[in-house]
């Protein structure tokens, strides 16, 4: 028996040692800027992104433009790599030189854990002027002053409306206030003889498509944090207004009827999207939808405008997020990786060509002003919003998207009528977010 105990203890000790060794593994984060490659240096840069199909081809083309500056650097672009794979790559030492992440939700974690290397040494060394990028976009690419990513184009959100349905309903201009939005939504809604919704003027289900608290927040003047850095949903009148307004719309439709209608709608990025099918008349969405609509639903006549705001003075505000680029911890060629990131962040021709190809908003002021940028009537709304100083970025925390999930879950429950006390509910969400941030210790 004693022998067995000893053997078991030995096994546990060995496992503990292995665990400690394995946990400590991973390349070091550099505090100094790695040297840029020489003009004739031959090396291969691996780039991971989550692009696929046509967008993958276009981004690959953009990456190849780097060869004008460094002809001997080969770029290996691997698509369909999400944040899970990036993290697993860093963990296992199989790290790309440049990682492109589709979501800015993880920027707090990437910067605070060192998963993405700090870019300040490079920015300082190369005297990069970050003012070329709008403050909101700068905000969602750093955490607590630690810039660990740069933007590759941006997404800006605004209102889409079906112009055919507007004329049929006798509406001459897009709504600018919440009251106008509510009245227009009522006029545009069509129901069948048995009361089923056939067309929703505006779909208020929280969390569905782009009707999300994060995206709506700027239009309600909602603030995520208090001055002392705590979660501030319950103290921000904007969040209360947002929930109240959305619930008012849900009550207009009737929650059960609305859910039956919503449950039959298509997926967000498919040709079955409800707006493509003419099943919703007004919606919030990003600029990329203009390309989707023209390709997948050319029969839909639509236009875009800034989304209505709670306070008239805020009209022209919008939410922004986008693809971010970083140098993962343990990257083999950080110096060359930075040169590629700098190229994609600031080379106007590359940004404009890519923007024209995948219909995203350029991330620099020079690219937005470029005469080569293809701007039609619908896309212009997004460019104007991106140039505005009212643009607001994604809230950044070190807990991934846990805070966004908490708010979205609560909003869905509240608008369904299951939460009687809005203020108490928001306080509970605040507490949950603060607890998780405190636990992260970041």
């Amino acid at each position: 028996m004693r022998k067995h105990t000893r053997a078991a203890l030995l096994c546990v000790a060995a496992a503990l040692t292995l665990t400690a060794c394995a946990a400590g593994k991973g390349g070091g984060a550099n505090s100094d800027a790695a040297a840029a490659p020489g003009k004739d240096d031959k090396l291969t840069l691996t780039v991971w992104s989550n692009y696929s199909d046509r967008e993958y081809e276009e981004v690959t083309k953009a990456l190849k433009t780097f060869n004008k500056k460094f002809p001997n650097i080969e770029i290996k672009h691997e698509g369909s790599q999400d944040d899970d794979k990036i993290t697993a790559g860093i963990r296992s030492g199989n790290t790309p030189d440049v990682a492109l992440s589709f979501t800015t939700d993880n920027i707090g974690s990437f910067c605070s854990t060192g998963a993405f290397q700090p870019l300040k040494p490079y920015l300082d060394r190369d005297k990069v002027d970050l003012n070329q990028i709008s403050p909101a976009v700068r905000d969602y690419t750093e955490y607590k002053g630690n810039r660990c990513a740069m933007p590759m184009l941006t997404d800006v959100y605004a209102m889409y409306y079906n112009t055919g349905m507007f004329s049929d309903a006798g509406i001459s201009a897009p709504p600018k206030t919440l009251d106008e939005l509510f009245e227009d939504a009522k006029k545009l809604t069509k129901k069948s003889a048995n009361g089923d919704i056939e067309v929703a003027g505006y779909l208020p289900t929280m969390g569905f498509y782009a009707n999300r608290p994060t995206i709506l927040a700027p239009n309600f003047g909602a603030e995520w944090a208090t001055a002392d850095g705590k979660s501030g949903l319950s103290t921000s009148p904007g969040f209360t207004e947002m929930m109240t307004f959305q619930k008012k719309l849900v009550d207009f439709y009737g929650f059960d009827q609305l859910e039956r209608f919503r449950a039959g709608l298509g997926q967000e990025y498919s040709a079955d999207h409800a707006f493509h099918q003419g099943k919703i008349a007004i919606m919030m969405d990003g600029e990329y939808r203009t390309a989707f609509l023209k390709a997948q639903a050319p029969q839909i006549k639509f236009n875009t405008a800034p989304f209505p705001t709670w306070k008239p003075a805020d009209y022209g505000t919008a939410f922004t997020t986008g693809t971010i680029m970083g140098i993962p911890k343990g990257a083999k060629n950080p110096g060359a990786a930075w040169e590629l990131i700098k190229h994609l962040s600031f080379d106007t021709d590359t940004i404009v060509d890519l923007s024209n190809a995948i219909k995203n908003v350029p991330s620099t002021k020079a690219a937005m002003d470029s005469p080569k940028l293809e701007v039609d009537e619908q896309f212009k709304t997004f460019i104007d919003l991106a140039k505005s100083d009212k643009l607001k970025g994604n809230p950044v925390t070190p807990i991934g998207d846990a805070h966004i999930k908490a708010v979205t879950d609560f909003a869905a429950e509240y608008t369904s009528g299951k939460v009687p006390d809005l203020a108490a509910g928001l306080k509970k969400v605040d507490q949950s977010i603060d607890d998780q941030i405190a636990k992260s210790g970041k």
């Binding site: 503990l16 946990a23 944040d83 993290t87 969390g207 449950a263 990025y269 846990a402 369904s416 636990k439």
Partner: protein, 324 residues
Amino acid sequence: MTATLGARPAPGRGRARARHRLAVLGFMAPALIGFVLFFGYPLIATVVFSFTKYDLINAPEFTGLDNYTFMFKDDLLIKSLTNTLWFVLVLTIARTVFALGVASVIARLKSGVGLIRTLCYLPSLAPPVAATLVFFMVLRPNDGPLDKLLDLFGLQSPLWFSDPSWAKPGITAIMLWISGDLMIIILAAILDVPQEQYEAAELDGAGPIRRWWHVTLPTISPVLLFGIVNSVILALQLFTQAVVAGSAASGSADTTGSTKYLGFPENSTLTFPVYLYTKGFRQFDMGYAAAMATVLFIISFGVTIVLVQRMRKNSSAEEGGPGA
């Protein structure tokens, strides 16, 4: 095939005994190494990480019981645990009863047995993502085939994966559809019951139901216990179907890299493993995820022990019963 190691050496012949032990160890080595590498080490590592703050990137920091105490104020953890326990209870019973029922019917068929057996087994070969999406499309309100069929009779189907009260039953229905593997195992056990026992029971005047109850059921009870344990483990690990059904119903099946939609609707499909994955890999809190995994392991281990002990008790009661 048998392996012969030779006779056990007499006591006192130390070198021979050592050689014998080495030979035994040599034969056991592949299994032992596999066990240590793929079970022992990960298990111990998980327990160790559960006492740390570990973000997967930097070395873990010891935080004592923080991860475990945080569980008591984590509403989503409670919700996910409740969801998983619901599946353990409902799915285990439903899957075992369903597989037993189908197997019993097939065992009594006189013709077309091969075809029906194949048809019942086939769905279990479908990839879980595809199976879930097929179910989602079939049960989809407004334009799904089931809803259209019900519409002919003036009825409406429930909102299945969009209604928090129906989402878990919807997933259970998928799991039943793909339970052909268990059905085949139970069918084999039923067909293995000695024919003489049925004949004896028939001579004693037992009808088909009594024969099934008093002959079939007791004979296949070890296989049923396996089915129950297997279903409990399946329910405790339920992941893919919950994620796919939730994402598709939320309209975001084609959106990658976001946890915001996991658990849709209203976290009714947020199972314990889904939440564990979210915390560990999406929110960079592997220490907490490890603590959750430890809790899951303890629960699984406890449930299995209880079931096995119950089974042993039943077997010994039967062996020691009248006529034994």
